[in-house]
């Protein structure tokens, strides 16, 4: 009996963290599926889903040496089927401007209110400059022109520049 586990590893970066975690999963016969890793303000941040045939507690125990060195590790079962998504069309929201509270909530709130779903998101803070890039799925019945206009108005109020364009997908 296999199960899906969500493993997150966060903390002080060093070479070899990914090799350590995947080594443990391989030894336990687990299969690494989707994962996303980056450095957030220089901190290692990795979220992964793995298919394993052991209990979450066993995986957590085998990763305890990472916790001992100060990394925050969580191992949790992922239950239920994958979400179906909202379908429709894919859009790209790009935002940049002077950093201030409320940029992400102000703009993603409009997407959510329209029934849109964010499927991928990166935010970055430079020296005073905030950048947000998100992929958005919109149901077919959304009035995209009206949503675009609302995003433009909100961006102006927040003092940022926002562009909302169809996601460019070349199917070959």
């Amino acid at each position: 009996m296999t199960q899906s586990l969500a493993v997150t590893v966060l903390g002080h970066d060093r070479p070899g963290i990914i090799a350590d975690v995947t080594g443990v999963l391989a030894e336990l016969g687990g299969n690494l599926e989707d994962s996303s890793m980056t450095l957030l303000r220089g901190h290692f941040a990795w979220t992964l889903v793995a298919e394993v045939s052991v209990e979450a507690a066993v995986v957590a125990e085998r990763l305890a040496h990472l916790t001992a060195e100060g990394l925050v590790v969580s191992v949790l079962p992922v239950s239920g089927p994958e979400a179906p998504g909202v379908g429709g069309s894919a859009w790209l929201l790009s935002v940049h401007g002077a950093d201030r509270p409320g940029i992400v909530s102000g703009l993603t709130g409009l997407v959510a209110a329209a029934g849109g779903n964010i499927t991928d998101l990166t935010t970055r803070l430079g020296s005073g400059l905030y950048v947000l890039v998100a992929e958005v799925e919109l149901p077919d019945d959304v009035d995209v022109d009206a949503l675009s206009e609302r995003i433009g108005v909100a961006a102006e109020r927040l003092g940022v520049r926002a562009t909302f364009v169809p996601a460019d997908t070349d199917v070959l």
């Binding site: 790209l92 401007g97 970055r124 400059l129 890039v133």
Partner: protein
């Protein structure tokens, strides 16, 4: 004759001044630049200033007027020393330039002096034709080019339309912390 042996022959310009480069989120970088008279002495001086500023900025291959705080449709370019260049037209300044045609889009990573903290992946045309005027004489030139010069031209013309590369990145995983300063 404005283009000789593939190089744009620039009219004589006054001595240029090195100007400070503004960075996002300055309003002037998000505002479309206006057309100007290429024979206006102030425009000719700006052309010289852009070239002077570009020459002393390490790794800089082009500079739009609004990057030095001036909202005029003028930019400088020189990609002749860049290893990704194929066709190059030397060092030049164009006034009121616009894209006539573009094709063969390719993805590549860009940085910008006005966005010092980040780089990004963008799709841009690798073949392009740009028509513009030379400062001083107002002579019209048609620049037909490819590869890196085509990309650099689109980067500068985007600036003049009020866009930076962050407005055109291909997705959430296409923005990167800038690791090296050229």
């Amino acid at each position: 004759m404005a283009i000789v042996d593939g190089r744009i022959v620039m009219p004589a310009l006054p001595e240029g001044r090195v100007l400070p480069v503004v960075t996002v989120p300055a309003d002037v970088l998000s505002t479309p630049c206006v057309d100007v008279d290429p024979t206006d002495p102030a425009v000719v001086q700006l052309a010289a200033d852009l070239l002077a500023t570009q020459r002393v900025s390490p790794g800089c291959v082009g500079l739009a007027a609004n990057q030095v705080g001036v909202g005029w449709r003028v930019f400088s370019l020189d990609v002749s020393a860049h290893p990704k260049s194929r066709v190059t037209h030397g060092e030049y300044v164009l006034v009121n330039a616009r894209i006539e045609s573009s094709s063969r889009h390719e993805k590549s990573r860009e940085g910008c002096m006005s966005v010092p903290d980040f780089t990004g992946d963008l799709k841009r045309a690798s073949r392009i034709a740009v028509r513009g005027l030379l400062p001083g004489t107002g002579e019209e030139v048609l620049v037909e080019t490819d590869a890196f010069e085509a990309r650099a031209l689109q980067h500068e013309l985007d600036h003049l339309d009020g866009f930076v590369f962050l407005d055109r990145v291909v997705g959430p995983h296409a923005v990167f912390a800038r690791k090296t300063y050229l």
